[in-house]
Each structure stands twice: as C-alpha cells, then as structure tokens.
C-alpha cells in the first residue's frame, strides 16, 4: 500500500530511451508555442497527438484518466471565468451592466482550458518516460549543483516514507480518540498532534540521514564519479535538431504569418 507519487511509468519505448534533456527541451519549446497560439483545433490536435504518444509508451488510459480528473476542476474554472473576464470579441451575446459575454469569449474559455491541458500532458510525456534518477541526473548535467541534485534525490526517495509515516501517526493518534471528523478550523486543530509527531520523527530521521551520508564518504575531498551518466546518442541529437528546426519554423510562421492566431482557423 505504498504511495510513491511517482509519475514515472516503467517501459522501454523510444521515448523512454530518449535523453531526458531532449524531452525537457520539447516541453519548453511546445509550451512556448502553446502560449503564443490561441487556436482550438491546434490545441485539440496537440492533445490527441500527446495522448497517442503516451499510450504508445505504455501509459495506461487509467493513468491518463487520473490526470484528467485532477485537472478537471481547474479546466472548468478557467472555461467558466474566461468569458466573464475577457470581454473582447465582436459577437455579443449577453449584456448585463458591466458583464459582457461574447461568442469569442465563450469559445475562448474552453480554448484556454485546453491550452492548459495540452501543456500539462506534454509535461507528462517528459515525466512519465523519465525515471527519477535520470531526471535528477539531467538537471545536474544541465548545471544544477550536485548537492542540490542530491537533496532532490533524497527528497524523492523519502516521499513514500513520509507518506507512510503520516498515515501511521494519524492512526496512532486516532486510536487515542483524537476526533478527525468535523470541518474547517476544528479539523485543522485536530491535525496538530499528527503534524507534531510526524515532524519530530522526520527531524530524527533527517539527523540520522546526515550521518549516513557522511558515513558513505559524501563530501570526501576527491572528484566524484558517476555509475551511469547520461550521454547523448545519435537518435538524441537527431531529435534535438528536428525539434529545434520545427520550433523555428512554427515560431516564424506564428510571428510573421499569424499562425495559430485566431480562435478557429489556423490562418
């Protein structure tokens, strides 16, 4: 019954084998384009292609469904609020004092929502096909200081441990008749015994952890080696080049020719 909060889905697809830095670049580039564009069919297309890629890599529909369910409250909120606050557009549908709902606004809501979803699922492509070690390693290779990368690794490693700890503390305190029912402030106050006991155990563990690191020669005055290092192979370079090329083309089209500008038609 362990919760790992791990988005990674083990597999050997071509996306899995791709260097994580290339995947990160993809996320950055696609996000830039998605932010520049404001076009419903394009966003839908990106979503469809992203889903195809994810399923092809072994990510189950169930997992995709979980992300949709998590995003849904935000998507609905965006879709509803956008028409109310974005008042541009010429096809007015409703006017009520300061409120002005237009057809463009109404369409813009779901469009913005889907933009958000498209970016989220693009991030998922990166995270679902990159295991935690490769992820941290890619950050370090891109310039993150090693010690920070180590903190990140340890943080990730201990997430399931702390989740289990919190659960155990919660059960122990409930067994002492701590009532967790109730709402709002009452419930928040009831969480205090759980938080304190969890925190103390966490602090104890952290001290031990520091000792373990030192006992494994962390910080020894030698140049550190790495068992598995990331290395860009020809397919990685090829894809990198393709991504950059595609990005430049689309970027220029967007700026010069207004690609993705209007709501419903690319041109």
């Amino acid at each position: 019954m362990s919760t790992t909060f791990d988005v990674y889905v083990p597999g050997h697809s071509w996306l899995h084998r791709l260097d994580p830095r290339v995947k990160l670049l993809y996320v950055v580039l696609v996000s830039i384009l998605l932010l520049l564009w404001f076009n419903l069919p394009i966003f839908v297309l990106v979503l469809v292609l992203t889903h195809v890629a994810l399923v092809a890599c072994g990510v189950s529909w169930k997992r995709l469904g979980t992300l949709w369910r998590a995003l849904l409250p935000f998507l609905i909120l965006i879709a509803v609020l956008w028409p109310i606050f974005a008042r541009e557009g010429s096809h007015e549908l409703l006017r009520l004092g300061p409120l002005r709902i237009t057809a463009e606004g109404l369409l813009g809501g779901p469009t913005t929502a889907l933009r958000f979803a498209a970016i989220s699922f693009s991030v998922l492509i990166w995270l679902a096909t990159t295991d935690q070690r490769a992820l941290v390693r890619s950050f370090v290779r891109l310039g993150m200081p090693y010690k920070l990368g180590m903190s990140l690794t340890i943080g990730l490693r201990f997430i399931p441990t702390f989740a289990a700890l919190f659960q155990s503390v919660s059960e122990a305190q409930q067994s002492r008749a701590l009532a967790l029912e109730g709402r709002g402030l009452q419930r928040a106050r009831a969480m205090i015994p759980i938080l304190i006991a969890s925190l103390v155990t966490t602090l104890r563990m952290s001290e031990q952890l520091g000792w373990t690191l030192e006992a494994r020669a962390f910080g020894a005055p030698v140049r550190r080696t790495t068992l598995y290092d990331l290395a860009m192979r020809p397919p990685d370079w090829l894809l990198l080049a393709l991504l950059l090329a595609l990005f430049i083309v689309l970027f220029l089209l967007t700026l010069q020719a207004g690609f993705g500008d209007s709501l419903l038609r690319p041109w």
């Binding site: 690794t153 490693r157 563990m205 520091g210 030192e214 020894a220």
Partner: protein, 300 residues
C-alpha cells in the same frame, strides 16, 4: 587514501575514551555516554557488544567512525585510533574509507532511489571508476543475496532486505572495519534470518580480512558470530570474554538487564537445580549435552 584490501588489517585502539553529550536544555548537566572505555580490537576479530539501552553501545559505534564527536558535538576525552588515524582529527568522509557503519533503522540507511544507486553511492563518493563500481555492485549484491532486486526502490523492500542492501552498500566501499549498530533490532524474525545469512556469507568471504564490530541485543546472533563479547553498562565495560563465558553468567546479566539466550538460561537453571555443569548456548550444543544426561538417567 583508499587502503587496498589485501594490506594487513588495522588495529582499533580505544584509550580511556570519555564522551559527554551536550545537554539538551540550558543548565542541565551533560550526559556522560561513555565513561572511560579502553579496548583493543585485533585485525580480523569479530567483536560483539551488548548492554541495555543507555549503556553507551550506540555512542561507541558512532565513535568508531568519527561521527562522535565530529557530527554530534559534546565533549570528549581519550582517543579512538583506527590504525594510526585519530577519529578526532581525521574527517568523517575520510575515515569512511576504512570504517563502514550500518545503523539500526533500515530507513535511515538508504539514501538512493534504487538498490543499484544505493550501492554505487559510496564508491562514487570515493571517486572509484564506473567500471569498477559496476563490478563491486555485482559482487556486493551476490554476497548479500539481493542480485535480483537491483532495480527495486527502497520503499519496495522489506526490513531485512533494506538492511542487507545497507550492508552491501558499505562493503562496496571496501572498508577494513565494519560496524553494525543493532542491525536486526527493528526486523521481524524472517528479516533477522536474512541478515544473519548475509553476515555469515560475509564472514566466509572475508575471513580475517575484515574486522567486524557488532552491537546486538539479540544474544543468539552474538553467540553465533562473535569471537569475543563485551558487555557495557552505564558507559563502562563490565564484562568481556567469549560468548560462552559471558552468557553463562546469567544472573549477572539479568541484573544488568541484558538479554540472555534462552538456552543459556536453561543451562544455568539446570545447573542450579541438578548440580550439573552445562554450558550450552545453541540448540545443537544443548542436544549434545542433554541427550547423554537423560540417557544416563535412563540406564539404571
């Protein structure tokens, strides 16, 4: 910096070692954890240490690799020498090339995202070339019987498995001394058996090339592995000798609150009831000693 494994092992020398933890609250007196310990540990020896909680066992473990006093502060007297390295002066990461330490909490021993990463971590810190790291991982995993769990993450392992990975991770650094601080204290019986098997395998692999210091409250484990047992009480050594010699002194140990193997208890009780001279610790020893006795009572 990393001593070759085939060089003669080192001698650990503890001389009048005193350690006081800094008081937790202002105005309180510092707590004396170790009160003048003197102990010599020969190269290749398997030393067992036992005592109740608060007797200073854990502090002694931490003193062997320099965490006491370097990471714990407090005040110190006397010396702990690993060969000619003084644990007050040589930094902990450097001492780690000669002394490895496994803690009793399986969670705190693991810092990596997978078993493989865990075992690689120490050698990586020491600058060992990647190809050699890979060999050491294969070797260490095989030694503790975890070769199939290479890619598992820490939270997927049982307690016994976690401790075995911790032992493998430390051995991969090729230390001359391995310190185990109650390695089975938090494990269920299956975990204890697994760790005992790993220690056995380690014994067979290294023989006298590895010096082991093991703190344990599980008297059966000490009886199984230790050449010599030291009993601590209130920061001082109160008894030392072979496991047989120590665990025969059941009454004294019980008075100190130290766990005694159940069969040692049986032997002593029989001796006081029947005036016999039994000295067994393990199941097989007990069978060998009792069968003739019962049969001779039978043949009349």
């Amino acid at each position: 910096m990393n001593q070759a494994n085939d060089e003669a092992g080192c001698l650990i020398s503890i001389r009048d070692f005193v350690y006081r933890y800094a008081p937790v609250t202002e105005g309180e007196a510092p707590v004396t954890a170790l009160d003048g310990i003197s102990l010599e540990i020969a190269a290749g020896e398997f030393l067992g240490i036992t005592g109740t909680t608060g007797s200073g066992k854990s502090t002694l473990c931490l003193a062997l690799n320099g965490l006491v006093p370097q990471a714990t502060g407090g005040s110190i007297g006397g010396d702990v020498l690993i060969g000619d390295w003084n644990t007050k002066r040589v930094k902990v990461p450097e001492l780690a090339t000669r002394v490895g330490l496994v803690f009793q909490d399986p969670e705190s021993n693991l810092v990596g995202l997978s078993v493989e990463d865990e075992i690689a971590f120490g050698p990586e810190n020491l600058g060992v070339p990647p190809s050699e790291i890979a060999e050491r991982i294969d070797w260490a995993l095989a030694l503790v019987g975890m070769s199939n769990e290479r890619q598992r993450s820490a939270n997927q392992l049982s307690g016994g498995q976690k401790q075995r990975v911790a032992i493998a991770a430390v051995l991969a650094m090729r230390p001359e001394v391995l310190v185990l601080d109650e390695p089975t204290a938090q494990l269920d019986p299956l975990g204890k058996v697994e760790v005992a098997a790993a220690i056995e395998a380690m014994r067979r692999e290294f023989g006298s090339r590895l010096t082991v210091v093991m703190v344990e409250q599980d008297a059966e484990l000490l009886a199984q592995f230790a050449d010599r047992v030291v009993v601590l009480d209130a920061g001082g050594i109160v008894m030392q000798g072979t496991p047989h010699a120590i665990f025969a002194r059941v009454a004294e140990l019980e008075r100190l609150g130290v766990a005694v193997p159940q069969l040692a208890e049986v032997a002593q009780r029989l001796n006081s009831e029947l005036g016999t001279d039994f000295d067994f610790l393990t199941h097989d020893e007990a069978l060998r000693a009792l069968r003739p006795h019962l049969r001779s009572a039978l043949d009349d």
